[in-house]
Structure formats: C-alpha cells, structure tokens
Amino acid sequence: MSTRILGISAFYHDASAALVIDGELVAAAQEERFSRLKNDDAFPRRAVSACLAEAGIGIEDLDYVAFYEKPLLKLDRILETHLSCAPFTFPQFRRGLPTWLGRKLFLPRALASGLDGRYRRAFVFTDHHEAHAAAAFFPSPFEEAAILTVDGVGEWSTTTLGFGRKNRIELSHELRFPHSLGLLYSAFTQWAGFEVNTGEYMLMGLAPYGEPRYEALIRERMIDLKPDGSFRLEMHYFDWLGGSTMISSAFERLFGAPARAPGAPIEQVHKDVAASIQRVTEDILLRLARTVAGKTGAKHLCLGGGCALNSVAVGRIQREGPFERVWVQPAAGDAGSAAGVALFVWHHLLDKPREARAGDAQRASLLGPAHDTASIRKALAGRGLCAHELDEEALGRRVAEALDEGRVMGFFQGRMEFGPRALGSRSILADPRVAGMKDTINRKIKFREGFRPFAPSVLSEDAHQFFDVAPGEELPYMTHVVPVREQAATALPAVTHVDGSARIQTVDEARHGLYYRLIQAFRARTGCPVLLNTSFNVRGEPIVCSPEDALRCFARTDLDGLVIEHFLLLRDEQPPDAMAALAASGPPAKRASPILDHILRPEDAHPSRRTLMQFGLLLLVLAMVSGGVAWRGSGDRKDLAAGALAGAALFACAFVPGLGRAMYRAWMALGALLGVVVGPIVLGAVYLVIFAPISLVRSLLGRDPLGLRFDRNAESYLSDKSTHRDLRRYLRLY
C-alpha cells in the first residue's frame, strides 16, 4: 500500500501544494497559476486538486497532510514583538491581529475546511525553516550536505544552519527575528520603488548598473556584521517590527532620497544603493556559507529560503565559497516548502530511506499539470484560429527557423514548472544573438522595465564554451548567475547582463526532451546552442498554466508565434477578428461595482440560501423580542402579536428573490460600517490596556527580549537550535 503525503504552504504568500507518494515528488504547483492572482495566499484548493489528479487519487486517500509552519510559535513571536515595542506597533496590531485570530491561529480547522472535511487524521506541522531545509536537502543529489536556509522570517528564525545526512536533517544554529537578511533586502526593494515579495529580482537586476558607493554607510550605520555572517540590524531604520511599511523616515534620510514611487524614473542613487545592498547581501551569504562549512565539514551545500533565489550571490558562493557543489531548491521560497514538508514527513518522520540520485530528485522541477492533445484541440476549437499540427521534427525545424528570423515565440509544452522560473515548458523564446531583442521583448511583450536581463538556455554539452562553468556541469534550474566568457558575450548580447553575467539554464535530453531537441534544431540551423528564455507571462501576471491562458497571452501581446505541444500558431496567419475576440475572452473585466460591494466581504455580497435562512430567523427573533418588550411596557397583548406578525413577515421577505438579498446586504453593510468604527476602538483599548503597560514595564526593567541592542564584543549573534527528538511534537501547533 502506497503512502501518500500532501504538503501545503498557504495563508502568507505564494500558496502551493505538493504530493509525495512513497518518497517520490509526484506533483507540485502554486495556486497563483490557477487563480491567476500573483502570489495568491489563499488555501491552494486548485493546486491540491491538480496534484491529486496527477496521481488519480482523492483527498480521502491521503495518509498525511503537512503544513509548513507552526502557528503558535509564530503567534508567540508576534505577541512578544507587541509586548516589547508597544505603543509603536499599533498599525500592525490593528491590521494583523484580526486575521490571525480569525484564521491563521486555528489552522487545523482552516486546513480541514480547505480539504472539505474529507481528511480526518491529524495534521503535521513543521518549523518554517525545517520545511525550507527539507526542500533544499531531500531532493538534492547529495548523500550528505551542509544546509543553509535564509529568508524573511518564519516563526522566530530568519536564518538557519544545519546538516543533512541520508534521510535526516538537523538544524543546529539560527539567527532570530527581527534580524533578517530577507527583510533587509525587501526594505531596500521597497525603497527602490519595487513591490515587496516580487520586486527583489528587479533590485538584483538593477545592481550591476550602479556603484556600491553606499556599502560602507550600510555596514557602519545599519548593521553589526560578525565574521561568521550573523548580524543585528539597527531597527531605527526599519519599520517591520510594528509599522505598516518596511522602512522608516530615518532610512530615507540616510540615503538622502525618499522612497521611489512606483513608475517614477530610476535615478543613479537607486542604482548605487541597489549595488551596495547587493554587495552586503553577497558578503553575508558568503560568510554564512563558510561558517556552515566549518561547523559541518561538508563538501556540498544545499540552499533554501527566499534569499537562495538571489542567484548572483549563489554564483559567488559556488565560485568563491568552500563547497565543491551548491544545490539550490528551484522553488526556494515558501512555495517550495510544500514539497519540503511532504518529503520531511516521508524521510524524517516515517524514517524511510533516501538514496541520493546522480541528477537530483526534483524531476527538472516539471511537476505541474500537463495538457493532452484532446484538451488543446478543445481550447483551439471554435476560435477561428489558424493552427498547424506538426510532427516533432517539423515543429522543431519550423520553430528554429522562426527564431532565426528574429521572431519571438511562446513555447508551451509538457508539465508546468514548479517555482518562479520558466524552464522551457511555459517559456517565451527568442534568438539571443540579436542585439535589440531584449528591448523588443521588454517593450512589446513583457511590458516590463528595460534594465531587467533575460536568461539563456544552453545545451548542457556546450555550456562551458559560452559560460564560466566546468564541462558537464549541470545547472538546470536558473539558480546560479555565472560570468559569460568574453568571446561569447559579444555573440549573445540579448542574454548577457551589463556586468557580463548570465543566469543560465543547462538543458539536457533526459530532463527536457522536446525543449532540448528544439535547441538542437536551432544549433543545427545557426551554430548557436543558446536560446533566450523568459517566463510566459506579462508583467504583474502569473506564468500561464493552461492552453487557454497561453492563447490569451498570445492574443494580448505582440508574440510572433505560439507553440502548444505539437500545434504551431503564427501571428501573420491569424485573422484579426479571431485575435481580438481571443484577447477579450477570459475572466470579464472588472466593472464598477455598487458602493455596497466596496464595504462588504465577497461572501456577504452574494449570500447563500443557508445564510439567508439564518438572517430570516434572526429577524424573526428580533421582532418577537421587540414585541415582547413592548408588551411588558404596555400590557397590551396586541403588541406581542404585532411583533410576532412583523417577525413572520420579515422572515418571509428574506426568501423573496432580490428583496431578501438586498435586506441582507444592507444589514451586513451596517455591521461592516459599525466594525470600521468600533473595531479599531476595541483593538486600541486592548492594546493600550494590556500591551502598552507590559511593554513599558519591560523597558523600565531594561529587558531586551527581541535582542535589539548591538553587542560589539560578541563574536556571534547565532544561537543554538535543535530538531525535535520526539517526533510526535510534529503533530503539535508549536
């Protein structure tokens, strides 16, 4: 009998699901791809369904469901922060606590509800960083390795160091909140005018355009960095302890410029500050890598957590660090934790053996849904589009020809990628030899900032001729930035960044199949075994998931052609009317909604019949109570009868189509309006009466529970961390 384990990451950002059957990572997907909401944090219902469909099983067939965090530890951190920093944390208290108390704290109930009550066993909860560590180590090609996880924050940890061996991981050291490299980088991201959680790549891409003039200032004023890579931050410059943004006004004063408004011009100061924080980040990660190497003696390193997506720093750790090889979980952010937590249950908790594989066990990160020919035909049917169904050889030849002619092609085939990178299954492809190609794609298709670089996909056997990698070195996930060889940089202008680097993907036959053969066809035609590969989406939207998404993106941009499995569509051949109709299809454009819809929650705007029944009963009871009160005052039984009659009439009205819904919406709008006024008053009263006095007393007693003060004499800010020995602890919420 197989053991089926579902991993879930949700409720913060980038919700996802992953399915592990007998230790094999069978499927994994992010909810945003289905909901079409970037970084969707909702319970990943559609991702769960896609994973289960891949295995042909239902929720009832699951043996374990695991969540990637321990909610009570997280609540402990939040409460400690308010109890230490009140009254300066009220904006976050008012914004965050209702969500916490309403949903995030009672996770077993929320998870059970997300699974429609069809999973009846206990849920497994791991530490946030244990899930990152598991995602980084278990699929890696190493029998044993050092583990380094770095992100914004989980429960208390922001960075952990540890060791993985066979089927066990052990985290031994941690850096604790609020001192966080991920949050530090996000603060600079926000100041530079990019969106937190998605704009960090942009800051990294902007860095090579600047000079690190502010590096010394950051080191001197913002951070106390120890030789082992641990650090404390001067929280005076940041706002994430209790405010509603990432940076304080002191931050802006330090750099002599306010935060850039989104869309405002990028000045030299933004480029220089980006270069400076990137240098500091690389230095911290290099120091941490050397520290974990020293503590474990390992030859290999597994990297996890959102900061592991800083591919420039990863490249430097590979080249300058103490490890022979560095493997990064391709979905290193919270999405990958769904896979990590499921693998943790199988290997660590159920003690099932693990054999490291020569490549890795991530299966090229092609873990999402695929679409068969029948469903593609259905997606194309009735749209009036001109599509050629070709055999593989003809398809490769035609696409290579189109790319050689300078066309930009959408390429949709096989299973969808898991993680933020398009790896040849949901990609936009172009000729990297064309100097103006980067600007063309940025301006006409991706609609994104012109400074951002594009990545190359290169045949594995040819990679060392163009890039600074060893012959045969496999980097199939775009996790490492490497120098482009000098003679190749001029030949590949569209994928060589301004500093002569590139975030490469090596492509091989075993992992990539059709994509590999396409690049082979391009090489046969042009002599160049490299293609420009960028994600198949437009700015602000998730990568396409289904053939319908791909067709809409084709119609809404200036893509020259589209490949969906063995179907080829060329823009020149498409009737304009069909393209216009396709562009207008999909979810209806948002219309201006009535004012009530702005006040009401979506479920209140569209009540179910059951909700209307409850509402009718409430009106009945209220009317009868009112009649009873009037009767007690007047002694006239007619008042009681009038109350009962009015109640019955109101109850009946609740079921009149249109009228009942209107009454309910008005009633709930009254509640919402009262909530807007009363809610902050109640929360403020609790905050002032409980949190502020405790915080004040702690300050007067000189307590520093969050470790905010610098200790210049300390050798390290790392503290000990241990992995639970009693495995039943993983069934607890702390």
Partner: protein, 76 residues
C-alpha cells in the same frame, strides 16, 4: 477455569508511547490545548490572561463575520 493473561514482555514498557504513525491516526488536535501547553513549557503562563482576552476578541471577530455583526458591534 481462571483466565490466564499472556506473559509480559519485560523488555518493553507496559505503556509504550504511541509511534508517530499511531499518534497521527489518533491525536485530536486543539489549538487552545496546545497554546496552554506551550505557555507552560516556555514558562510564559503569565501570558495566559492575555491569550484569554485575545481569544475572546477572536470570538467577537468571528461573530462579527456573521449575521450577528450589527448586534455584536452595538454591544460595545
């Protein structure tokens, strides 16, 4: 005839704790019980009144999402 019980295995404790697999099948999870256990283990029991108040607040917030919301807010 008196009933005989099987001989006890002296190597194993009589009340061996359940394995992880067994516990996963039988454990009934409770946020409140785990919260109190956590406060006890971390010697933060002094926080329990704060927790109780927050839970009451949570209950109010939960009710405020129902048809009772105008009545709940009027109480304040």
């Amino acid at each position: 005839m008196p009933e005989t019980s099987p001989p006890e295995n002296k190597d194993e404790p009589v009340h061996a704790p359940p394995s992880f697999e067994e516990a996963a099948r039988t454990t009934r999870q409770s946020t409140l019980r785990d919260a109190l256990a956590y406060l006890r283990e971390t010697r933060k029991l002094w926080l329990s009144p704060v927790l109780v108040i927050l839970l009451i607040l949570g209950l109010v917030l939960a009710l405020s999402g129902t048809v009772l919301s105008p009545l709940i807010y009027t109480l304040f």
